[in-house]
Symmetry: C2
Subunit: 116 residues, 2 copies
């Protein structure tokens, strides 16, 4: 049986524009339960989903960033990725709505798969 996060990863990202709804608090809590490695952090008042992935060196973190970049281009939805020696930190949020859309949780689930 698939894990819930795998099902989430297979959902389509929908086109999102200003005025699209942010996820409600209850839905966000339910989605986060399927993404235990991810946390919601507020940066300059805008919620973002963040996860830090560990790697044995810089090249491993960079290779992961390239895999996430492919996912991002395919979905036309892009994260912020910070690469350092031994780690990459990925954050997803939706600029056009200033917060979290269901798309961000879908992309977080795909990112976790790419980090395995």
């Amino acid at each position: 049986m698939d894990e819930p996060a795998s099902e989430l990863a297979r959902e389509d990202c929908v086109a999102c524009r200003p005025g699209s709804p942010k996820v409600a608090a209850e839905e966000a809590a339910s989605l986060l339960a399927d993404l235990p490695e991810w946390t919601v952090a507020s940066v300059a008042g805008i919620d973002r989903l963040t996860c830090r992935f560990a790697f044995p060196n810089f090249a491993g973190a960079l290779a992961f960033a390239n895999r996430v970049g492919e996912l991002a281009d395919a979905a036309d939805h892009h994260p912020e990725i910070t690469i350092e020696w031994g780690a990459a930190t990925v954050s997803w949020w939706t600029h056009s709505i200033g917060g979290l859309h269901r798309n961000d949780f879908i992309m977080a689930a795909r990112t976790t798969q790419a980090g395995r």
Copy 2:
């Protein structure tokens, strides 16, 4: 004639360990004059050299990060790189001395060349 930053980019990074000297303020000011795009920012009390490079999309920023990663692996000295849609921000500092070594200015000069 070469620009001063090009000369800096050709210097070798030397092995650096705890106790190696940080650049003195006067030397830092002189090196920064050759790197006009870079600023010194203090994060958690540790000075770092930082520069934001603009690109037309996410893939351009990621391709640049890969070029910087090659430079970093070749010198065995690694930066922090934050990639977002349209930009990559690179920061150099030396963990082992908790601040800026001449190596960081050398790597900043090479990074600027990779961003052109």
